[in-house]
Amino acid sequence: MASGLILLQGACAKQEPKMNQSSAANQISSGILYASRALLLLLTGLIVAWIFTSTALADEVGFEQAVQQLTTRKFRDKEKAVKQLADIQDKRTLPVLQALLDARLYYRKSDKRVVIVVPIDGQYQLSDPLNGEQLGTAAKRQLKKIGINNKLRKLLKAKLASLSLESPDVEVRLAAVEQMLGHLDEAQADYITRLAEQEQDEDVRDAMGSALALHQLEHGSDEQRLQAISLLSGNLSQVVNNHLQALLEKNEQGEFLETNTTLRKAASRALDLISSRLQINSIIETTFFGLSLGSVLLLAAIGLAITFGVMGVINMAHGELIMLGAYTTYLVQSAMPNYTDLSLIVAVPAAFIVSGLFGIMIERFVIRHLYGRPLETLLATFGVSLILQQLVRTVISAQNVAVSNPSWMSGSWQINAALSLTYNRLFIFIFAMVVFVALLLILKKTALGLQVRAVSQNRPMAQAMGIRSGWVDAMTFGLGSGVAGIAGVALSQLTNVGPNMGQAYIIDSFMVVVFGGVGNLWGTFVGALSLGAANKFIEPWSGAVLAKIIVLVFIIMFIQKYPRGLFPQKGRSAEN
């Protein structure tokens, strides 16, 4: 620590000359100043180091003694030892106390030496808590566990929390404060009050404020308690909720345990606020999950919206094209094991190309022979889907493969205590939107899009205008299939990647396209998001499977009423 200080000051000093370089006259004087200042720094550094080493020496003995003290059988003495350890400012304390709490602190029966153990294959790997030295392995019967009781456990938790409160890591501090929420003692409250004044991070400061308010609520005067309640109202933490709830409890005679009416009223108001906020949160959360499911459906269905909607081709192998995209992700990831973060970005164009090429092949070899016979196309492409599945099973594996999440997609965005949105779902939602817009632009703004629309509206006329309709068919089908591949990349981040994964999406995708209205990308968009949201809003009171069944039955009914979907095509081309 002392040497760290010196380094820090040295680094500051080194930057000094740069500022003074402009003037030559100043250089000499600044040189002298620099030298004298460096000398001063060195001196103070030495003094600081000396103070630290001397206290460290004293602490060293204390630390060793305290650790050894833990082997005593009396819990009261162990307690003293724990307190002593916590008081010594030493970075070794945290692991020791943590090990004690986790029942990983033992001592050797032979020499009463305290060790931290890690169980490996029925044996224990020992390490010295004093210097971290590895002491080899030992059998269980050579060791004796240092037992703790509930009182000690509580103490340990609190001490560990207060140690982590001063950690330089914001996350650690925040977690520590949240852990202490609701069971502060007087000393800790004072301690946190002090810390809160110096705390730089706003979140940690807020959390500390809540913890202190909760402490006031328990122990303060009525005035302070009222203030605490107003501070805590709207706080979404479960602990706060419980404490406020406790204020409204009644005894067996039906009288309130809390006699102060103003307090009770304030508490119930605060609780109302909390519950309404929680409700809003859960609605936001459900909407998010719904939109997330919707975006997955959108990705899966949008390729189909092109092949089915624009070309009128039923491609039952669409799910398998998604599967191929997911497997491409897997292969790309295996090819570059050290660049997981990058591999997903590489996988997107790769999957587009792989699935797109497969799609073009399917169009050239199978579908081309069957234009105008949609039911036969359905059967033939179903055969293709069986072949593709079996191909993957034979070539790669019948088992699911593991596709890892890149670091920028794992974790979640913690909005408040009760609401967090996972990054992978967030990214996939955004990704789906980007893909949708890109596809829309391709169909509306490019030459290919114009030709695709021309061929789908009137093939002979388009041919007469010099459009190679066969080529347009292949490209359109390749585009739709490529998008399916991209969907596979996204899905690989959410679900299992296996040979059968495509089948799970094929029916859903068709439902989305038919529900939205064939030949209309916006219909697919609205259909996917609304079906996803509907599914998630039904789920809480019916369960996942029943929700799915309800949605399916709803779509079946809907199609019977409106056979052409939400946004039917109008005009002559709609009639066949």
Binding site: A380, G383, Q390, R393, I549, L552, Q560, P563
Partner: protein, 365 residues
């Protein structure tokens, strides 16, 4: 009268030979199984009897599909659902026949209900201890579902691909539903461990042979019924609907009623196939509802040749036989072969195997 009948049979050579074969095996196979001693070369093992019996139930299912697809152009991708519903009705009867011989020995409740801590039989299980009621349900449940579904779909003129997709969604939804334990149909495991039917043990050779004969005879009867329907005036209208639905409507036929009637008959035939299938195979589970099964049976019909009835029967038996044979020697190859069949048949054999045979005959004459 006799002359009329003669005329009637003369028109359908393929069908007649199939009926002949069915009649022949419905007598011969049980005899070869039960009477001829096991040491003899001519003995047919019970395993084979059950296997062929299973093919015949599939053939009945294919016949049901051909009736609506081949003659009315309705490609149902959900006929497996009617098959499975018939199977479940039969399975429920067989389940109730187990009585207290289950693992838990409960005389009232099937094992899986005891396992789920259910205290009494759900209302929809009542009556299934009676054979006649179960048989009624084999007809009523698929028929009713087909009626409701068809009434809604045909009335709003859902046709072609859309109809195929929503029938597929129907069977998919039913599969998800039957997978749920709360439904009271045994969830994932379905209904199994059957002991006897009408008092006869399902394990005995006699019962197996009888079930086989029943399958063959019911298939023959279903064939005759289908042929009767197709040759009747109603059948003519149905074919007209297949070829030009709008025109048929314009000359004042209520297209949806004809379709609905045929669809319900087809569903009932499929349900009967399921009811015959379950006692022979010994299990019914939600896997029978899977969309894959329904679409596979459409390809049986396509391979045999649609719009001929006997072609569907031949296709079902042929595909299932090769499935058994193929999975025996090359398990992984079967899926490839099946996939290739789908592609090749739809592209190169739009009239199926029957189409090839007819073409050859036409070339000879």
């Amino acid at each position: 009268m006799v002359k009329l009948l003669q005329q009637y049979f003369q028109r359908d050579r393929g069908g007649n030979s199939m009926l002949g074969i069915l009649l022949f095996i419905s007598v011969m196979v049980p005899v070869l199984n039960l009477v001829v001693p096991e040491s003899s070369v001519f003995h047919v093992s019970t395993y084979t009897v059950t296997l062929i019996g299973k093919y015949l139930t599939f053939a009945l299912l294919a016949l049901a599909v051909d009736l609506i697809w081949g003659y009315c152009g309705i490609m149902s991708l959900g006929h497996g659902a009617f098959f499975a519903l018939g199977g479940y009705a039969m399975g429920m009867y067989l389940m109730r026949q187990i009585g207290d011989r289950g693992v838990y020995g409960n005389p009232e409740l099937p094992d899986f209900m005891v396992f789920l801590n259910w205290s009494e039989l759900p209302w929809y299980w009542s009556g299934f201890d009676m054979f006649w009621f179960a048989m009624l349900m084999v007809i009523v449940v698929p028929g009713l579902l087909a009626f409701v579904f068809g009434w809604l779909a045909f009335r709003s003129r859902v046709t072609g691909v859309y109809l195929s997709i929503i029938t597929q969604a129907l069977t998919y939804a039913l599969m998800l539903a039957f997978f749920r334990n709360e439904m009271g149909f045994g969830g994932n495991n379905g209904l199994t461990d059957f002991k006897d039917i009408l008092g006869y043990s399902l394990q005995s050779d006699f019962t197996r042979a009888s079930l086989f004969a029943a399958s063959a005879i019911i298939l023959a009867l279903a064939y005759l019924l289908s042929r009767y329907i197709i040759n009747s005036k109603l059948g003519r209208v149905v074919v007209a609907i297949r070829d030009a639905e709008d025109r048929t409507r314009f000359i004042a036929y209520r297209v949806e009623y004809y379709k609905l009637w045929l669809f319900v008959v087809s569903a009932i035939l499929a349900g009967m196939a399921g009811a015959l299938y379950v006692p022979q195979v010994g299990i019914i589970n939600p896997g029978e509802f899977s969309p894959l099964n329904s679409i596979e049976l459409v390809i049986w019909v396509a391979i045999g040749g649609r719009g001929t009835l006997y072609g569907a029967v031949a296709g079902a038996v042929l595909v299932n036989f090769s499935k058994t044979w193929f999975t025996g020697i090359l398990p992984e190859g079967w899926i490839f072969a099946l996939g290739a069949l789908f592609v090749v048949v739809t592209i190169y054999l739009p009239r199926g195997l029957v189409g090839i045979m007819n073409r050859k005959q036409a070339a000879q004459t």
